[in-house]
Amino acid sequence: MAVRSRLPSLRWRRCALMLLSAVLLSAVLLALLPSTGLVGAQPSAAQPIPIRVLMPAPLADAVAGPVARFNARGSGVAVEVVRGPLDTETISDLAISSLLLGEAPFDLLLVDVSWLAKYVAAGWLVPLERWFGPEVLAGMEPGARLGNGLGDHLWRMPLTGDTGLLYWRTDLMERPPRDTEELVALSRDLQRRGKVRWGYLWQGRQYEGLSCVMVEVLQAFGARWWNGATARTELDSPEAVAAAGWLAGLLRDGVSPKAVANYAENDALQSFAAGEAAFLRNWPYAWREIEKSDGPVKGKVGVTPMVGAPGEQGGGTLGTWGLSLIEGSPHPEEAVEVIRWLTGPVVQRQLAIEQGYAPTWSRLYDDADLQRRAPLLAVQRQALQHPQLRPLTPAYAQLSDLLARQVNGMLTAQEGPDQAMAAAQGQSLQVLRSVAGTTGPKGTASEG
């Protein structure tokens, strides 16, 4: 059969090759065309200046109404919101891929608090203090002021003041637990009585969300991940090991399901919304999701700031979003105007009502009408008094990655808490040493 196909195949190969070359050539030409300016019209002078903003889809949808109104005002600026993916890590990947290409594909980026140090170090952001003086932040709740400044600069204007919150079932208990012991005791009691299958649901998957949970658990036990003064991690302190041990104990004792070790926010929310658990750790958006649904726990969910161990002050992880100006934006002045307006009270009010996002401005918390329409407001304000910041260092992604990896290993019963935390600490110091070794003190940063 090989013989028979021989003769025609040669000719065919020639033809195919020619065709391929032609196709490739035209593809190359087509790819070159836009950059040479042969096609694609330039916007005429009369058109408004476009300001492009990249946001995660839920936030983009939430601001769509206000943005339309802003554009209708005809201020000479047209805001164009680019809907990014939903997942925080995924949208960062997208933003970074675009930023690496050099020319700024958008003027403004909605920056998660955990990205800030990295983006600043990469030189992608423009300092904002030229436009926003120190007095601006003074009008915000204490927690909302954190994670925006670094070095001596202001790098972003916060749009939301979200923190991690504790969700509880109002139909199963009279008041939320005061501390971690009560949380476990209530859980076990309800589980024993068959009221719920699980006690406490949270995020234990190997990803950034687990680091957020760890920040809260560490705080609850009087430990801390990051010491800003020494720019070192303190993950192997006895308190930190105790905190990790408590988390592992939740799985061991059946207060949390083994499946938690693969739960992200949505998995945990799903289970909780189905009425399977007494408590849930999540962000403010979850409350709206539950209330919007027709699930079995609708109207039976309360929210409280994260609890600590007896005698310790609990605190939720700060998960705020803020707008930053991208280096290389052709219209910085107009872009800053958009920041000013988008982070202003009008938009924040809308976000609080529609999506349950926590505002940053103190006066919005005092607004009686908003209090009525956004029932979480009081709890959110309370939570913003003791928020927990994740390590503000350019090496944060590495630190978070290795912590989540070690803690997840502990949760899936491969290591004890002391081993896991010792390993996490050792690896963290290694990462920090490599940081210090390359650039010296410039690499570390203080909170602003």
Partner: protein, 295 residues
Amino acid sequence: MKQRATTLLLMLPALLLLAAVFLYPLLRYGWLSFHASSVLTGLVPVPNGGANWLRLLSDARFWTDAGQTLRFAVCSVALELAGGLALALLLHQPLQGRGALRALTLLPWALPTTVMALGWRWILNDPHGPLNAAIRSLGGSSYAFLSTPATTWFFVVLADVWKTLPFVALLLLAGLQTIPVDLEEALRLEGASRVQILRRLTLPLLVPYIALALLFRLAQALGVFDLILVLSGGGPAGSTESLALYAYLNAMRFLDFGYAATVMLATFLLLLALLGGGWLLLRRGGIERTPDRAT
């Protein structure tokens, strides 16, 4: 002579494009792997000698991931070849509705990996996934499949096999269809059983296709990334992290491009060594056949 010049000329655009999309990144990685280029250098490449490579040699995570990636690739490709062969033989039978069946088996392959991985995550969800629902309806209790390394690894392999088995099957089916029916009939007349026909005739004639599928799939499996990113995120505790995922984390999350390039290049070299080794083995086994001169 003149014909060769024309051939070269015709191939030039293709070669240029190949160089642009393949050779250039490779050279670029090679160059970058001898530089520090991260947030700490403001993303500006600064020569750092062989520091990245030295770091790689002592980077336990790299070697763990290399082992995990290799194990994943070997297991899933072996299963895909075995299953793909079985499926190809089945689809080669003159069954009713064979065309529809063939199209149907291709569905998993046509599904985007991320969608497929999300689907598997849902199937394996504890306790809401259908698999656990099935287990419960049989009287068992839910199992957190993605919370233990062994089961997670198993399902990562299974998902990969599920997705790419149709591709292998299709490739082998194409191979089967090049085997003239006469040959099998001649052997049947000699009194050969089905197993003997498979062993003595079908398999030897399929070798080029099997080798092609093997090379193709091995290269793909060693670069496994999106499936793992979505299905397990590399967890639990990094037990399913692949080299490509590690390189990706270094580049996109840690913004450490010098080291990411080193990991990427090392992965590529590993792949090359593996494929080269496999090729030599095939040759030594005498299976590699050059087409004979025509009469």
